[in-house]
């Protein structure tokens, strides 16, 4: 079996309304793919379906993480199998400190009876927060509560760094970030790029792809990938918009 995040002919609907209409895409280990596409084309839906959100029904198709059929697993099992989603709109968890949350997520990955080494955990988290330019006070604050848009996005990247997934989807991580924050977040992601890991970066703007340079760019429209190209495709889209692709006949 190939080492990749493999989405094949994926159909998914919500309340009987089909949103993903036969989406096929493969991110091999070691690569960064970008998905671009107009608002409402199904980008966030794709990421939530892969994560296992219960609002969506998969009616056809498959999603494989290496040789694991993700659609057979519970949400938390998918996570522990190595799938991470940096949310477009990260949820708040009142009263639960960031440190405790991340620690619980790490603990969930250990065999029963084994305890996290708290000192090593904090040392590692502080180092990663420094990389992301996050103030130490974010360890004690409730997860995402009262965070600005940019702080929430950085916090998603922090969690990703702490959980070291095999494959990660970043859903519009750049929106709400100013250019400096964008650079820092991109640095964090780039530091995690490795032959052992694949990324799928969802974005509206080519800007992010200046800093996280993708191997492949896909265009998603109306629940399908309608075009795939190299990193230069992002510039073309930025310049010309989506219409020229949308209007071209879909290649078989």
């Amino acid at each position: 079996m190939s080492q990749s995040l493999r989405i094949e002919n994926l159909h998914a609907s919500v309340d009987g309304h089909e949103i993903l209409k036969g989406l096929t895409l493969e991110v091999p280990k070691g690569q960064v793919h970008a998905i671009m596409g107009p608002n409402g084309s199904g980008k966030s839906t794709l990421s939530k379906v892969i994560a296992g959100h219960e609002d969506y029904t998969v009616t056809e198709g498959s999603v494989f993480l290496d040789d694991i059929n993700l659609l057979d697993l519970e949400i938390d099992e998918r996570s522990r199998a190595g799938f991470f989603l940096a949310f477009q709109y990260p949820h708040e968890i009142p009263g639960v400190s960031n440190a405790n949350f991340i620690r619980a997520a790490r603990q969930a990955r250990l065999p029963k009876g084994q305890e996290i080494d708290a000192v090593a955990f904090y040392r590692e988290m502080y180092a990663k927060m420094d990389e992301l330019g996050m103030d130490r006070k974010f360890t004690a604050r409730s997860v995402n509560e009262g965070f600005s848009g940019g702080e929430k996005k950085r916090n998603e990247i922090l969690q990703m760094m702490m959980l070291e997934p095999k494959y990660a989807i970043l859903d519009e991580t750049d929106s709400g970030l100013d250019i400096d924050a964008l650079k820092i977040v991109a640095q964090g992601v780039n530091a995690m790029r490795s032959p052992e890991r694949g990324f799928l970066v969802i974005t509206h703007y080519q800007r992010l792809l200046d800093y996280i340079v993708p191997d492949v760019v896909h265009v998603l429209h109306d629940g399908r990938i309608i075009h795939t190209g190299g990193k230069e495709l992002a510039y073309e889209l930025e310049e010309k918009g989506y219409d020229w692709i949308i209007n071209e006949p879909v290649a078989a």
Partner: protein, 471 residues
């Protein structure tokens, strides 16, 4: 160490408090409650005549008062007073050394970690087993400073000049049916006196243990903290789970003299067959402060509304309350704040969690009469419902007369959002872990009010309760 036969007789269960030792009691008042029961208790204790009279008057009040079922749970009708034993003891006198405590009693408290906690962070401990204390000890230096920490029998016998003037004054016998019951058959509990200016640094702790079936525990506590003095008192409790109902009905009176501070902390973890019907009230004199920090996790039905009467100018009262009602449980809790002087301040923060078919009720009473000036009350009560069958009710009664006061009232009912659980599960937490963490988050700001050792225990208890609540 208890011998192996004793150990084998212990019913081991995953619940920490769910084990019991075979009964061997020297004193057993038998089933049911009559004047004879009272004579039996009074004789064993060798009590002064006025106490016997006090008890007998209380028995009449108890018999005359109807059950408060016109406003409270009908479940009260399931208490069969004739099937309860009102006094059980091994005839032990509380010892000052754990070595002298009977083996099975000592083993009980060791399993509950009491001696260890005492060594680590307590200034004094009293451990009550059924009707009487088995162990009672307070640090030498506190005794030298004049601090008294004894049980009710000893308090009334050895220090009547200290305790008698306040005994039954904050909570009169006839306050309610269960305060009357307690007044008739009380035994054990803590009588504490802290002399003027003495600030007791470490907490004093009492631990209440019910071991016997068909039994009622009726401890009586009276804490008097003299001018400018301070104390923190903590109580914990457990019982094994029996098929039949067990009754726990305490009366706790606090008196804070001018500038005094009392903090009273409870972690109630009775087994789910215990009716826990407790009356708690404090009297705060000028510039005194009384805080009730109350956590109810166990019991079948708890009815408890800690109160503060703010009698002196600038007195302060506070109730911090956490209640967790799981299947088959009803936590009927709240607070009473009686403002009786100018510039008095009260604060109530109550959070409840209802799980499965669990039911939580908040009853708050805040009373500020018209002739007073500059009183403040803040009331917040938040309820969290976990399952569709969970239930919560709120009955706030705030009577504020006059327009020179500041009051604020907020209430909310919420559920853990599905999107929040999805987010947490995406990070690898199971549904149960996500729910536990969310619930701990909901009460987190209140748990922080408990001393460290207790907040860790609380978190663990909440995790245990939440484990079976999902999926």
């Amino acid at each position: 160490m208890p011998d192996s036969a004793t150990l084998e007789a212990v019913n081991i269960d995953q619940d920490e408090g769910n084990f019991s030792y075979p009964e061997d009691y020297a004193h057993d008042a038998g089933y049911g409650l009559t004047e004879k029961t009272i004579d039996y208790i009074s004789d064993i204790k060798g009590e002064a005549e006025w106490i016997r009279e006090f008890r007998k008057r209380a028995l009449k009040v108890f018999n005359d008062k109807p059950m408060p079922t016109h406003w409270a749970s009908k479940d009260l009708e399931n208490i069969v007073f004739e099937n309860i034993r009102y006094y059980l003891s091994k005839g032990q006198r509380p010892t000052r050394s754990w070595d002298e405590v009977p083996d099975d009693v000592k083993a009980t408290f060791e399993r509950l970690g009491i001696p260890e906690k005492e060594r680590k962070f307590l200034a004094g401990v009293e451990a009550q087993f059924d009707s009487e204390a088995a162990y009672s000890n307070v640090k030498e230096e506190l005794t030298k400073e004049g601090v008294i920490f004894v049980n009710s029998t000893e308090g009334l016998r050895e220090h009547p000049e200290v305790f008698r003037p306040w005994f039954g004054k904050v909570i009169p016998t006839g306050d309610n049916k269960f305060s009357a019951l307690n007044s008739a058959v009380f035994s054990g509990g803590s009588f504490i006196y802290v002399p003027p200016g003495v600030k007791v640094k470490h907490p004093l702790q009492a631990y209440f243990r019910i071991n016997a079936e068909n039994f009622g525990q009726f401890e009586r506590t009276l804490i008097i903290v003299d001018e400018g003095a301070e104390v923190t008192y903590m109580e914990g409790c457990t019982a094994p789970k029996f098929e039949t109902a067990t009754l726990h009905s305490a009366v706790v009176e606090l008196v804070a003299m001018k500038d005094a501070k009392i903090q009273y902390i409870t972690v109630q973890n009775w087994s789910n067959n215990v009716f826990n019907l407790v009356t708690k009230r404090g009297l705060a004199h000028e510039n005194a402060e009384i805080r009730w920090i109350d956590c109810n996790i166990g019991s079948r039905l708890t009815m408890k509304y800690p109160g503060v009467i703010m009698k002196g100018r600038k007195a302060r009262g506070e109730v911090i309350s956490i209640a967790l009602a799981n299947d088959g449980q009803h936590q009927d809790t709240g607070a009473k704040m009686i403002h009786a002087a100018d510039e008095t301040t009260s604060n109530i923060v109550a959070k409840s969690i209802s799980v499965g078919s669990g039911r939580s009720t908040y009853r708050g009473q805040v009373h500020i009469p018209k002739h007073l000036k500059g009183c403040k009350n803040n009331t917040e009560c938040d309820a969290l419902l976990i399952n569709a069958s969970s239930r919560t009710d709120t009955y706030p009664a705030i009577t504020v007369r006059g327009n020179q006061h500041a009051t604020q009232h907020e209430a909310s009912v919420s559920q853990v959002s599905e999107e929040q659980i999805f987010y947490m599960k995406q990070r690898g937490l199971s549904e149960g872990e996500a729910m536990s963490l969310s619930v701990n988050g909901f009460v987190n700001d209140l748990v922080r009010e408990f001393p460290m050792e207790y907040s860790v225990e609380l978190k663990r208890l909440i995790d245990m309760e939440m484990e079976g609540s999902v999926g």
